[in-house]
């Protein structure tokens, strides 16, 4: 497995042989197809951190359901920030890899 990106306690990997991605949430490792990774990215993107600080999100947590509802996660503000970093970094690495592959 190739490590793509690490942010706080979260790490993303790409597995060439299964053509899939993995995210290690420290206590749990989940496998995602590319489609599921896209869906996860969209959920992370849609988290409005502003609501955590303005008090509109009273408890400062986000509940995410992943991979056709096979996983459920609860993240606090700090983790949400890390996840945003993780997704940005992961997709930047994937983009870089695409450029390198196309260049060869």
């Amino acid at each position: 497995m190739n490590t793509l990106f690490k942010a706080h306690n979260f790490t993303s990997y790409q597995c060439d042989s299964s053509r899939a991605f993995h995210i290690d949430f420290d206590h749990k490792l989940i496998k995602l197809s590319f489609c599921q990774l896209l869906a996860f990215r969209e959920q992370i993107k849609n988290i409005d951190l502003e609501t955590h600080f303005s008090g509109r999100n009273k408890h400062g947590i986000e509940i995410l359901v992943l991979c056709n509802r096979s996983h459920i996660f609860i993240f606090d503000t700090f983790e949400c920030i890390a996840l945003k970093d993780l997704m940005e970094g992961t997709f930047a690495m994937l983009e870089l890899n695409s450029l390198l592959t196309a260049g060869v």
Partner: protein
């Protein structure tokens, strides 16, 4: 490392995000036209109402076209959320002006998408968008023709202008 992303997705991820935003814009347009149709209906302007119903369904078709394109190419299209549609208007002329403004906005948004495709060498999407570039040109022209009608027939009853609306689409 394999390029799995490329194996699964034939368009650029960033472009995919922009296309999803475009889906939202087409949906907003579709709703906005529906609101305009409703106003015309209430004000006895049958032909203008029919015009905007037709516009509304065209915008929905545009939305679906992009939706399908994203999914067919391995991406994920998201069903758009539409909020706060404007329902209050002063006059039919104001409505057509708003319609032209809306089309110009969409044109600009399509153009910046094409620009981005060029920058990222996404020729697949650029080719796909050519249809939209052309469509936008026609849409703008259509709205301008209607507004010209208002300039020409300023002293005529609104009813007469309404009667001329269906003919403009065929031109």
């Amino acid at each position: 490392m394999k390029d799995i992303v490329r194996q699964k997705l034939s368009i650029n991820v960033e472009i995919m995000d922009m296309l999803n935003k475009q889906i939202e814009k087409e949906a907003v347009s579709s709703s906005a036209y529906l609101a305009m149709a409703s106003w015309c209906d209430h004000n006895g302007l049958e032909n203008s109402a029919a015009f905007f119903y037709e516009q509304s369904s065209e915008e929905r078709e545009h939305m679906l076209k992009i939706f399908k394109f994203i999914n067919d190419n391995g991406g994920t299209a998201y069903a758009p959320e539409v909020k706060s549609v404007m329902h209050e208007f002063n006059s039919l002329e104001e409505i057509f002006e708003a319609a032209l403004d809306q089309e110009i906005e969409i044109t600009q948004s399509i153009h910046s998408l094409v620009q981005k495709c060029r920058k990222l060498n996404d020729f697949t999407t650029e080719y796909f968008l050519q249809w939209f570039v052309n469509e936008q040109m026609e849409e703008e022209q259509l709205m301008r023709r209607v507004l010209e009608l208002f300039d020409l027939m300023r002293d005529e009853p609104l009813k007469y202008i309404d009667e001329r609306i269906p003919g403009l689409r065929e031109e």
